[in-house]
Every structure is written in C-alpha cells, then in structure tokens.
C-alpha cells in the first residue's frame, strides 16, 4: 500500500473534484465554446465555411440593434435599484414595530417565479387593467397609458416590473450589512449634530459601499440574463420589435427563424458583454477580500 504522505494527501481532493469539474466543463464550458465556434460558421452551398459574416450581419440587423439598445436601457435599472434597495434597507433597519412583517413583504416578490410575476403584471398593466382603472377613478386619466401596448413605454414598464421583483434581494443584502455597522458611529454623528440624511450619507453609504458595487454588478448580470423571461411573458417582443432584448432575439432567431449562425453570433455578443461584468464582479470581490484581510 502506498505510504500516505503530504504529497498524496494534497492530490486527493483534486481527484475527488475531477468528476464535478468534468461535468461543469461540459455543462458550462462546452456550450460556450460551441456557440462561439458556430458563430464563426456560415453556410455556403450546403457546406459550412469559416466566416465572420454572421457578426457583420448582426451589426446591420435593426432588430438586434433594438435588442442591444433595450438591454442598455434596462441597465439603467441598476443604479436606480441599488439606491432604492439602500433606502428600503435603511427604513427596514430603523423601523422597530413589525419589522419582520415588512421584511417579508419586501422580500416576497423576489421569491415569486418570473413567469408568475410577468403574467400578473400583464393583466395589471393592460390598457383597461387594474392600474389604469384605479388611475382613472382618482382623476389621473393622463397617466392611464397603454403600459405594454405603447412602443416607447413598454420597455420601461418591463423595467419597472424587474425592479419591483429585484428590490427585496438588494434590500436584504444592505440590511444584513447595516446590522453589522457599529451604533457608535451613528451616535457620534448625532452628537456632532448630523441630521438623518447626513448620518446616512456620511456613515451608512461608506459602510455599504462594497455591497453597492457588488449588487450593481449582480443586478447588471441579472438584467442581461433574466430579461428574456419578462419579455416572453409580458410582451413577446412587441409591440412590433420594440421590447426585443438580446436573449429574446437569440431565441427567436434560433428556434423560429432557424438561423443558427446568427443566433450563435448574438449569443457570443451576449457572452462577451456578460463576461465583462463577471470579471468586474470578481475584481470587486477580490478587492473586498484584500481589504478585510
């Protein structure tokens, strides 16, 4: 029997991890590589040749550009969501009575499945749906617009629903951090005469800055990765193509139009953009690790 030594013991965990690494590589890595390779193939006379034609056509494709623009618009949710989450967390932190109930209410949308949220809001936001009926009843007819049927407004309606659903996650992250902030900092600020807003600007914000950076990147990745579900349920890319997002474009191009080369090119573009955000997120986490160490 081979003698157990320090070298053998250090190799064993790696060997135990090998099957998992194998599965991860084929479940995550293989599709990514395949998509990139497929995006560089173009059918010519029944054969596939190496070509960047799919990318050249992608740049020209009005629908893809619309999708890219909509993803960019949806990224505007991120700073709004981060700030709103912080405000809600501060309120949850400061409230004493019923805090658990409020936390539950705030977090509830986050645990609901996206299709359920999408379906419910599809009804609420109809031109003669509950929201507009309420607005008309209180004399706010000018606000009773076609939330999902207006080409300019529809994407912002989807953004609103996205933020409503994601608010709980960010709020809880901030709340967890706030609970570790020393009360003495706030007491000192009070003694120095700082008002409520000043206390939170000069004490809370610096304390949660790391969470803000982290949450910003995570929410940006969520926008890029999860917007398909909202669009599919709520608008199906319409009216016209005004609410197409990149993953919806990829889905339509691959499975309805049967154009795998263009769909792969779109997927590669989305992969590149998401990778940038992931690298950013890793850097932030690493920075925080160094700081805390």
């Amino acid at each position: 029997m081979r003698a157990l030594n320090r070298k053998t013991l250090s190799e064993r965990p790696v060997l135990y991890m090998a099957p998992m690494i194998f599965v991860l590589v084929f479940v995550y890595f293989y599709p990514m590589v395949k998509v990139v390779v497929d995006s560089l193939r173009w059918p010519v006379d029944g054969k596939e040749v190496l070509s960047i034609k799919a990318f050249r056509l992608l740049v020209k494709d009005e629908t893809f550009r619309m999708a890219l623009m909509n993803n960019a618009k949806m990224l505007l949710c991120v700073p709004v969501l981060v700030i709103l989450s912080l405000i809600v967390a501060i309120l949850l932190y400061e409230v004493t009575k019923g805090s658990r109930f409020y936390r539950f209410l705030i977090f509830l949308p986050y645990i609901l499945p996206i299709p359920v949220v999408g379906a419910v809001f599809s009804y609420l936001l109809q031109y003669n749906g509950s929201l507009n009926t309420f607005l008309r009843a209180v004399g706010l007819d000018m606000l009773a617009i076609d939330w999902l049927g207006n080409r300019t407004i529809a994407i912002f309606s989807i953004m609103g629903v996205f933020m409503w659903k994601q608010l709980g996650f960010g709020s809880l992250l901030f709340l967890s951090r706030l609970m570790t902030v020393s009360e003495e900092l706030y007491d000192s600020a009070k003694i120095d005469g700082a008002a409520w807003l000043q206390r939170h600007w000069y004490v809370t914000v610096p304390q949660v800055w790391g969470i803000m950076e982290f949450l910003g990147v995570i929410q940006a990745i969520n926008v890029l990765g999860w917007s398909f579900s909202y669009v599919y349920v709520m608008t199906q890319g319409g009216p016209g193509t005004s609410t197409f997002v990149m993953d919806y474009y990829i889905y339509k191009t691959a499975f309805e139009y049967r154009n795998m080369a263009m769909a792969s090119a779109g997927a590669t573009a989305l992969l590149l953009i998401t990778t940038i955000f992931i690298i950013l997120q890793r850097r932030i986490v690493r920075q925080r690790e160094i700081e805390y160490a």
């Binding site: 070298k7 250090s10 190799e11 965990p13 790696v14 060997l15 090998a18 690494i21 194998f22 590589v25 084929f26 890595f29 293989y30 590589v33 395949k34 990139v36 390779v37 059918p43 029944g46 596939e48 056509l57 020209k60 494709d61 009005e62 629908t63 936001l125 109809q126 031109y127 003669n128 749906g129 076609d146 939330w147 999902l148 049927g149 207006n150 080409r151 599919y232 608008t235 199906q236 319409g238 009216p239 016209g240 193509t241 889905y251 339509k252 691959a254 499975f255 309805e256 139009y257 049967r258 154009n259 263009m262």
Partner: protein, 472 residues
Amino acid sequence: MRKKLVFWLVLVLSIATFLAACAPSAEPEQPTPEATVAKEATEPEKEATEPKEEITLTVWWLSSASPEGEEKWWKESAAKYEEKHPQVNVETVLKSMENFFPAWSAAAEAQSGPPDIQYFWEGVWMLPDAWAGNIVPISDYWSEEEFDHLPVDLTSITYNDKVWVAPLGADALWLYYNKEIFEEAGLEPDRDPMEPMSWDEFIEACEKIEAEGYHCLAGGMKGGHLGGFFFSAFAEQNFDHPFDLFPVWIGEEDITDPKYSNWWNKVAELRDKEYFNDDINSLELWESYQRYFATGKAGMTFGSFTGMHPVVEEMGDKAGVMLQMPKFGNGDLANRTTFIKNANYGISSWSPNKEEAADFLLFLHTPERLNAFYEDTGLLPLDDRFDESLIKEDYEKMAWEQTMFEGATPWLEDWAPAMVGSEAYWAGGQNLFAGSSVEEVIQNSADVLEKWREEQPEQVDHFREWMQEGKK
C-alpha cells in the same frame, strides 16, 4: 503539485471540449426509399412487419384546442396500437408551446434520441426540417393509394415531389359573429356561412353594430397573431395561389407594388374607424375573445377554428360564422374558405423505427381512430375515411368537404418565411395599431425582406425551388 494537477486536468478537458465543439454537427441521415407498406385502398388495417425486438415509439404532440380530449385520444390510440403490435410500446408526450421549438431543435441537432414522430404545422413550419434532412418523407413509407384519402391539395406539405408529413387535424381562419348583436343591428343573423360579405357590406355592418353601442370587432394584438390573421385573410385576395407572393419574398418583385401591399389599407381602415376595442394592443388574441366576443360586447372577431372552439361551445346558438373573409380582391384565393392542415405528423430522420412509425401514423387514419378524433376533440380529421355524418355543424361540414375534394384557401402565414411573418406581418399589425402609417409598415416589410434574403440565402433558394416546383 495540486495546482499542476488541476491545471493539466482543466487543460486536457478544455482541449477535448474545444475539439468536440469544432467537430461538424451530426449529419442527418439522407432519406432512402424504404419498401412501402402495401395497404388496402379503403381499410389500411394490414399486418405490418412486426419488429423482432421490443421497441418504443415516442410521439411528441402539441395540443390544438382541447388538451383533455386530445390526451384521451392519444392514450387510447397508443393502447389500441400496442394491443395489435405487442412488440411496440407507444409513448405519447404532450409538449408545451414554450419548449416545443427548443426541444425539437435540440433533438435535430443531436440526431439521436426521441422523438420518432413529431408534430408540425404545415408549410414553413415543417419544410426547413425537410430541407435540413431532419425528417423523412411520409410518401416513402405510405402507398400512393393512401394519399387518395387525404385532402386534394397537399402543396403545403410537398417538396421535391414528396409528401413530408401526414396531415391529421384541421384548422381554419374564419370570421365569427354574434347572431344576437347582428339581429339587434338589423343584420341577417342566420347567414349562409359560405356567402362572404363584400368589403363595403362589412364596413356597413360595422357601422350598424357600432351604432348599437357595441364594438364591431374584438381583437388582441399582443403576441402578433392578429397581425398574422390580417395578412392571411387580406393579403391573399389579389392572388390565385400563395406561390404568387413568392416573387416578392425572394426579391423578384417589389413589395411596394399595390397588389402586394394594398391590403394594409384595409387594416388601417378598421383601425381609423375605431372598430376594435381600445385595449387591442395590450390584449392577447384569446383574451379579446373571452373579454369582448364571448361576453357579447363585440359583434365580430377574426378567429381560428381551434382557438374559437371553446368560445363557440360556450356561446352555443349565439355564435355564427362566415367561412370566407370580407371580400375586396379578385384572386381565386378570395373565393374559398380557409381550411388547412394544422396538426401534421412527421418521422424524424434519425428514428431507428421509421417503418413502425409510419405504420402507427397509418393506424391513426383508420376510420375508428378518425371518428374518435372528432368525438374526443371536436377537431375535424383530414381523411375521407372519417364518417362525415358525425359532423355536428353544417358550416364545419361545408368547410371540410371543400377542403377534402375541391381545395381550400391556404393559410398564408404558413407560406411566408418565419422571419418575414414575425417581423413584417405580425409586427406590422402591432405597429399599425400603435400608430405607424401604412407607408411605414410597408417600408418595414421591405426592410425585413431584404434582411431575410441577406441572412438566410439558403432559405431563399429553397423558397425559389418550392415555388418553381409548385407552379409546374
């Protein structure tokens, strides 16, 4: 040492993955003519060659209108076939719309695994798989006599002189109306279903209905299907066959030519006169049926036979139907009802049990199964071995007979390239009701056509071949 081991492990796996990804996709098996299964002309209950070992046939099906009835029929069909063929297990799987396309695409990419039999709509929803070699022609497995029992016009499922799928169920695009509202508005409530209104009569009817305080038309643009219905109902009226529109799609004619685009003016007229419900752009089509038509708030609606089936059942005698669209064109397609092959079943090219699959599909066309299909689902089977005396409604019988023996108007959406249908016609309808002008919508159609030709040149070639073959 550990780092080195991990490094080499990941490197080897990465290289293996990269090589696997760069490998060409699995080539679909080229269909080879198999020995046809000889059948009696009237009763295809022949003894098929029994497989030597136990096999499983997997059928992926999509519900057309009544999931419970269809599920019952499929389960029964599987059980009865298994009784006759003990070596064959039939597994029927209901697919949802959400994973219908991705699941089939993944199976076609892998060229292995289920299904043996796949559901298809006709035309462009099936032909790309024929072009790609993902399905084998049913005409390679069924005798010629079998096709004598199917509808007289099989052009929408024929390519390269082969019939690629077996049609089972039908669908239609009709104009439904509320008889009580019609009567109140001074219109004839019991119209001859085959008699179309002229366009002017249609507008006059709308004015009368609106004057009584109802919406003339119920509609929902979300999802785009109503835009597709407008395209199918109106764009074809200047033509004798869908192939007459192909030149504009493949770039041989200009879409701004009025004969290809003047139908948008008819849709715009309906919009401008505010005949539809005001929330048309935020409702799904089926929602508009439920909210406005079924509840007696709208006088008419454009609907599919399968989509309106539950609504018509709910409304009972109050529902009337016009089998032809309001007429303004002079083409042959303006003179017939739209009744199409909706539920078709094809055999995957990688199925190891093609003969058995073809035999099972033939079994579904036995009189007993065809009659049961109608009884269980209310949907009309497309085979003259079906006992038409079972058909409950006179208008359904009229449409069925015309389809089977004379040829019905094809559903034009099933002939247009998928991208063009989605981004020109469906989106065009939505854009029109969201405020675009007719000129903008036509220009968008032209842009989408140009994009399609650039992005899918192989499909353009196939369309050209399909047209040339069909016009022979």
